[in-house]
Symmetry: C2
Subunit: 105 residues, 2 copies
Protein backbone atom coordinates (compact mmCIF):
# COMPACT_ATOMS: atom_id res chain seq x y z
CA UNK A 1 0.00 0.00 0.00
CA UNK A 2 2.71 2.53 -0.93
CA UNK A 3 0.22 4.85 -2.68
CA UNK A 4 -2.23 6.11 -0.06
CA UNK A 5 -5.59 4.41 -0.04
CA UNK A 6 -8.62 6.52 0.92
CA UNK A 7 -9.79 3.70 3.18
CA UNK A 8 -8.07 4.77 6.44
CA UNK A 9 -9.53 8.28 6.31
CA UNK A 10 -13.02 7.10 5.30
CA UNK A 11 -13.00 4.50 8.05
CA UNK A 12 -12.23 7.17 10.64
CA UNK A 13 -14.92 9.47 9.22
CA UNK A 14 -17.60 6.79 9.38
CA UNK A 15 -16.55 5.45 12.79
CA UNK A 16 -16.46 8.83 14.55
CA UNK A 17 -19.76 9.78 12.91
CA UNK A 18 -21.26 6.80 14.73
CA UNK A 19 -19.58 7.82 17.99
CA UNK A 20 -17.66 4.56 18.34
CA UNK A 21 -14.13 3.96 19.62
CA UNK A 22 -11.75 1.82 17.57
CA UNK A 23 -12.14 -1.03 20.04
CA UNK A 24 -15.94 -0.77 20.17
CA UNK A 25 -16.16 -1.02 16.40
CA UNK A 26 -13.80 -3.99 16.36
CA UNK A 27 -15.84 -5.82 19.00
CA UNK A 28 -19.07 -5.13 17.08
CA UNK A 29 -17.36 -6.72 14.07
CA UNK A 30 -16.82 -9.86 16.09
CA UNK A 31 -13.07 -9.44 16.50
CA UNK A 32 -11.36 -10.86 19.57
CA UNK A 33 -11.76 -8.08 22.20
CA UNK A 34 -8.09 -8.59 23.12
CA UNK A 35 -6.89 -7.35 19.75
CA UNK A 36 -9.87 -5.45 18.35
CA UNK A 37 -8.24 -2.13 19.23
CA UNK A 38 -4.89 -3.00 17.65
CA UNK A 39 -6.43 -4.22 14.42
CA UNK A 40 -8.82 -1.34 13.94
CA UNK A 41 -5.99 1.07 14.65
CA UNK A 42 -3.80 -0.62 12.05
CA UNK A 43 -6.58 -0.22 9.50
CA UNK A 44 -7.21 3.39 10.42
CA UNK A 45 -3.54 4.35 10.30
CA UNK A 46 -3.11 2.59 6.95
CA UNK A 47 -0.60 0.15 8.42
CA UNK A 48 -2.56 -2.85 7.17
CA UNK A 49 -5.59 -3.43 4.94
CA UNK A 50 -8.45 -5.84 5.75
CA UNK A 51 -9.71 -8.55 3.42
CA UNK A 52 -13.07 -8.18 1.67
CA UNK A 53 -15.11 -10.08 4.24
CA UNK A 54 -13.98 -7.75 7.01
CA UNK A 55 -14.41 -4.70 4.77
CA UNK A 56 -17.99 -5.70 4.02
CA UNK A 57 -18.87 -6.19 7.68
CA UNK A 58 -17.40 -2.80 8.55
CA UNK A 59 -19.44 -1.20 5.76
CA UNK A 60 -22.66 -2.79 7.01
CA UNK A 61 -22.06 -1.71 10.59
CA UNK A 62 -21.32 1.85 9.54
CA UNK A 63 -24.17 2.04 6.98
CA UNK A 64 -22.08 2.85 3.94
CA UNK A 65 -21.54 0.89 0.71
CA UNK A 66 -18.13 -0.78 0.45
CA UNK A 67 -17.35 1.39 -2.60
CA UNK A 68 -17.57 4.48 -0.38
CA UNK A 69 -14.34 3.47 1.39
CA UNK A 70 -12.50 3.78 -1.91
CA UNK A 71 -13.79 7.18 -3.00
CA UNK A 72 -10.75 9.38 -3.44
CA UNK A 73 -12.67 12.63 -3.84
CA UNK A 74 -15.07 13.95 -1.16
CA UNK A 75 -17.70 14.98 -3.67
CA UNK A 76 -17.72 11.50 -5.16
CA UNK A 77 -17.94 10.04 -1.66
CA UNK A 78 -21.02 12.16 -0.93
CA UNK A 79 -22.65 11.03 -4.16
CA UNK A 80 -21.95 7.35 -3.47
CA UNK A 81 -23.26 7.66 0.07
CA UNK A 82 -26.44 9.48 -1.02
CA UNK A 83 -27.11 7.18 -3.97
CA UNK A 84 -26.82 4.17 -1.67
CA UNK A 85 -29.98 5.26 0.13
CA UNK A 86 -32.14 5.44 -3.00
CA UNK A 87 -34.54 2.87 -4.41
CA UNK A 88 -33.80 1.19 -7.77
CA UNK A 89 -36.35 3.46 -9.43
CA UNK A 90 -34.70 6.55 -8.00
CA UNK A 91 -31.29 5.32 -9.13
CA UNK A 92 -32.60 5.03 -12.67
CA UNK A 93 -33.92 8.59 -12.49
CA UNK A 94 -30.49 9.62 -11.24
CA UNK A 95 -28.75 7.97 -14.21
CA UNK A 96 -31.07 9.74 -16.62
CA UNK A 97 -30.24 13.05 -14.92
CA UNK A 98 -26.50 12.39 -15.29
CA UNK A 99 -26.94 11.73 -19.00
CA UNK A 100 -28.71 15.06 -19.34
CA UNK A 101 -25.89 16.79 -17.44
CA UNK A 102 -23.29 15.34 -19.79
CA UNK A 103 -25.09 16.64 -22.88
CA UNK A 104 -25.09 20.18 -21.61
CA UNK A 105 -22.40 22.82 -22.15
Amino acid sequence: MSLTSPFPLRLKQARTRKGLTQQQLGVLLGLDPNNASARMNQYERGKHAPDFTTLKRIAELLNVPVAWFYCEDDLEASIVDAAHQLTAEQKKALLAFIEKLKNQP
Copy 2:
Protein backbone atom coordinates in the same frame (compact mmCIF):
# COMPACT_ATOMS: atom_id res chain seq x y z
CA MET B 1 -11.98 -13.32 0.73
CA SER B 2 -14.64 -15.89 1.66
CA LEU B 3 -17.53 -13.48 0.92
CA THR B 4 -17.45 -12.72 -2.79
CA SER B 5 -15.97 -9.38 -3.70
CA PRO B 6 -17.40 -7.57 -6.74
CA PHE B 7 -13.85 -6.84 -7.88
CA PRO B 8 -13.26 -9.95 -10.04
CA LEU B 9 -16.41 -9.40 -12.09
CA ARG B 10 -15.86 -5.65 -12.46
CA LEU B 11 -12.26 -6.23 -13.52
CA LYS B 12 -13.38 -8.58 -16.26
CA GLN B 13 -16.08 -6.15 -17.40
CA ALA B 14 -13.64 -3.24 -17.69
CA ARG B 15 -10.86 -5.30 -19.27
CA THR B 16 -13.00 -6.87 -21.99
CA ARG B 17 -14.62 -3.50 -22.69
CA LYS B 18 -11.13 -2.27 -23.58
CA GLY B 19 -10.47 -5.33 -25.74
CA LEU B 20 -7.45 -6.44 -23.71
CA THR B 21 -6.32 -9.96 -22.78
CA GLN B 22 -5.42 -10.71 -19.16
CA GLN B 23 -1.73 -10.77 -20.09
CA GLN B 24 -1.90 -7.54 -22.12
CA LEU B 25 -3.44 -5.71 -19.19
CA GLY B 26 -0.82 -7.12 -16.82
CA VAL B 27 2.04 -6.03 -19.06
CA LEU B 28 0.54 -2.53 -19.40
CA LEU B 29 0.53 -2.43 -15.60
CA GLY B 30 4.25 -3.09 -15.61
CA LEU B 31 4.05 -6.66 -14.32
CA ASP B 32 6.72 -9.17 -15.31
CA PRO B 33 5.49 -10.51 -18.69
CA ASN B 34 6.35 -14.02 -17.46
CA ASN B 35 3.66 -13.94 -14.78
CA ALA B 36 1.35 -11.12 -15.89
CA SER B 37 -1.18 -13.65 -17.18
CA ALA B 38 -1.16 -15.74 -13.99
CA ARG B 39 -1.58 -12.75 -11.71
CA MET B 40 -4.34 -11.07 -13.67
CA ASN B 41 -6.13 -14.39 -13.86
CA GLN B 42 -5.88 -14.85 -10.10
CA TYR B 43 -7.42 -11.41 -9.62
CA GLU B 44 -10.17 -12.05 -12.13
CA ARG B 45 -11.08 -15.44 -10.68
CA GLY B 46 -11.09 -14.01 -7.17
CA LYS B 47 -8.26 -16.27 -6.08
CA HIS B 48 -6.20 -13.36 -4.79
CA ALA B 49 -6.73 -9.60 -4.31
CA PRO B 50 -4.19 -6.92 -5.30
CA ASP B 51 -2.92 -4.21 -2.96
CA PHE B 52 -4.10 -0.62 -3.35
CA THR B 53 -1.21 0.54 -5.52
CA THR B 54 -1.94 -2.14 -8.10
CA LEU B 55 -5.69 -1.54 -7.82
CA LYS B 56 -5.18 2.16 -8.52
CA ARG B 57 -3.02 1.51 -11.58
CA ILE B 58 -5.58 -0.93 -12.97
CA ALA B 59 -8.32 1.67 -12.44
CA GLU B 60 -6.34 4.34 -14.28
CA LEU B 61 -5.59 2.06 -17.22
CA LEU B 62 -9.22 1.05 -17.52
CA ASN B 63 -10.61 4.58 -16.97
CA VAL B 64 -12.77 3.83 -13.96
CA PRO B 65 -12.56 5.14 -10.37
CA VAL B 66 -11.20 2.63 -7.86
CA ALA B 67 -14.55 2.73 -6.03
CA TRP B 68 -16.23 1.31 -9.12
CA PHE B 69 -14.49 -2.04 -8.55
CA TYR B 70 -16.32 -2.36 -5.25
CA CYS B 71 -19.84 -1.56 -6.43
CA GLU B 72 -21.97 -4.55 -5.56
CA ASP B 73 -25.05 -3.44 -7.49
CA ASP B 74 -24.93 -2.77 -11.26
CA LEU B 75 -27.04 0.35 -11.02
CA GLU B 76 -24.70 1.79 -8.42
CA ALA B 77 -21.75 0.88 -10.63
CA SER B 78 -23.28 2.77 -13.55
CA ILE B 79 -23.82 5.81 -11.35
CA VAL B 80 -20.24 5.77 -10.03
CA ASP B 81 -18.86 5.37 -13.53
CA ALA B 82 -20.99 8.18 -14.95
CA ALA B 83 -20.37 10.54 -12.02
CA HIS B 84 -16.63 10.03 -12.42
CA GLN B 85 -16.76 11.80 -15.76
CA LEU B 86 -18.44 14.95 -14.43
CA THR B 87 -16.85 18.24 -13.40
CA ALA B 88 -16.97 19.37 -9.76
CA GLU B 89 -19.78 21.77 -10.63
CA GLN B 90 -21.80 19.02 -12.23
CA LYS B 91 -21.22 16.77 -9.23
CA LYS B 92 -22.67 19.46 -6.97
CA ALA B 93 -25.71 19.72 -9.22
CA LEU B 94 -26.01 15.95 -8.99
CA LEU B 95 -25.94 16.02 -5.19
CA ALA B 96 -28.67 18.66 -5.15
CA PHE B 97 -30.77 16.46 -7.43
CA ILE B 98 -30.34 13.47 -5.11
CA GLU B 99 -31.56 15.54 -2.15
CA LYS B 100 -34.65 16.48 -4.11
CA LEU B 101 -35.25 12.81 -4.98
CA LYS B 102 -35.09 11.81 -1.34
CA ASN B 103 -37.73 14.32 -0.35
CA GLN B 104 -40.22 12.97 -2.85
CA PRO B 105 -42.61 10.04 -2.49
